[in-house]
């Protein structure tokens, strides 16, 4: 059975409608959302309403959490104070616009969803704010999947879709204790094959193109297809400017990459 995984909708209604239409055309009925329904984009209520109408199971993203809990991360992944200020502006605007009912819905979202050996999270099993980048340390990547007791980990947050298979792993260790310091015990751990699938972003792609991205996973074959879906980018850009959000959000959507807001250290996880 094929199922679709979407992430990082970011209040972009035109992109979400286009992606759902693409999924419907493939007669796929199981959809999972990895959070960040709101933030940056101009239609937070419309996007949350559509996810609720379609009864799409969703995890809570970092933006969803911040809207409910208040900004409790230090936002230290912002590359500049100007970018941080724009992020705060978007946060405040979204919090003001979002209905109480939709805030309650976001607050009700779980951190993770699980289907058998498939685990669905926003950032990583550790944190909604942690970025699992495609080239990150392979052992650390495997640890995230293995510690979560999953075979395949679906995540978002980076806005860049990819599939990473980790295999042929082995770690050898030499263990010494005071009981017998001269006789070191050696052991070897064979690491299991695991996969990380990043669904990219529906509402704010950063993979070098303006198209929305999502993935289709075939549970029978294990195949993962990364989909790119064109949508009416101008419609969203106009709405961003009309509602008074920072115009740079529209500018970067038109370019398909977060030129103005790219984090210097995307691996940083705020502990605040």
């Amino acid at each position: 059975m094929a199922h679709a995984v979407i992430s990082c909708l970011h209040a972009n209604l035109a992109a979400l409608e286009a992606v759902l239409s693409d999924i419907d055309q493939r007669a796929i009925t199981t959809i999972t959302c990895l959070g960040d329904l709101v933030g940056y984009g101009p239609q937070p209520n419309e996007v949350v309403n559509l996810v609720r109408e379609r009864s799409i199971p969703s995890c809570q993203g970092c933006w969803d959490e911040d809207i409910i809990e208040g900004l409790n991360a230090c936002e230290c992944s912002y590359p500049s104070q100007l970018a941080e200020r724009r992020g705060h502006q978007a946060h405040q605007w979204t919090a003001e616009q979002l209905s109480e009912e939709n805030k309650a819905f976001l607050a009700s979202l779980p951190m993770t969803l699980r289907r058998d050996r498939l685990l669905f999270v926003h950032g990583s099993p550790n944190s909604q704010h942690e970025y699992l980048l495609p080239d990150m340390d392979a052992f650390a990547a495997l640890e995230r999947v293995q510690t979560a007791d999953a075979d395949t980990l679906f995540c978002g947050h980076t806005h860049r879709p990819y599939v990473r298979e980790l295999r042929d792993g082995v770690i050898r260790v030499r263990v010494q204790t005071p009981a017998d310091p001269q006789a070191a015990a050696e052991r070897e751990m064979a690491l299991p094959v695991r996969r990380i699938v990043n669904a990219g972003s529906v509402g704010e792609p950063r993979h070098g193109n303006t198209h929305a991205t999502y993935v289709i996973h075939d549970e029978a074959t294990g195949n993962v297809e990364i989909r790119e879906v064109p949508y009416d980018v101008e419609r969203t850009c106009r709405a961003i400017v009309e509602v008074g959000l920072p115009p740079v959000f529209a500018w970067r959507l038109r370019h398909g990459f977060e030129y103005a807001e790219r984090a210097d250290d995307a691996s940083h996880v705020c502990e605040r």
């Binding site: 392979a138 879709p161 990819y162 990473r164 298979e165 050898r172 010494q176 204790t177 070191a184 690491l191």
Partner: protein, 236 residues
Amino acid sequence: MARWALVSGLQGDLALYEAIQRDLRQLGRVDTLFVLGDLIGPDRDANALLDRLQDPRRGELAPQCIYGWWEDQLLAERGYRGERRADPLRQQFGQAAVEALQEAVDPGHLAWLAALQFGFIELDCALLHGSSADVGDCLGPESSPLLLLDRLTRMDVNRLFTARSGEQFCVELAGGGIASTVRDLAGERQLQQVVPQRKVIGIGGGLRYSLYDPGSDRIAFRSVGQQPGSRGRGFA
């Protein structure tokens, strides 16, 4: 290069601390004393030890302290950790232990305890109570090598000293590797990575402490009560 002494789990025991200081004086060639948390505990009044740690006597090595699991629990219960309370302590040892811990420490020490850091980075070493993941993370000689490597990678260090388990051990990552394939919209690429030569060292707790020579990378496990002339149980 002189050696470091690494101590933890004093839990308010001033006599034990004085015995370790005596041991260090007799050994010589130790220039830095790190106390990796658990300065306090629920079993005895910790105020005299806390006074001494903040105001060392002449001739003693001045301790460099970080907070441990017991300090974290106390500070949480006393409102120094936001909304968090000492629930792990409560679940593990009961309400009586929470109350005993609070009674063991005069409120006048709380500000000093709250100012202690999570850990130190010295040279290429992380000196922590638990691990880079959490102050309560309990690493031991049987811990998964994948987990140990992850804890090292998170701080990007070659040596991670931990105290939470109270055990003395040295796990050396001695080889191995992993392959991966990344596929995205630009295509597919193969990546290969080898296991870095790194170590996780359990320093012990209470009577058991460790000496580390950063110059030679030698660790020696000691226990107070050992004969001064003995060499400790060292590894190259």
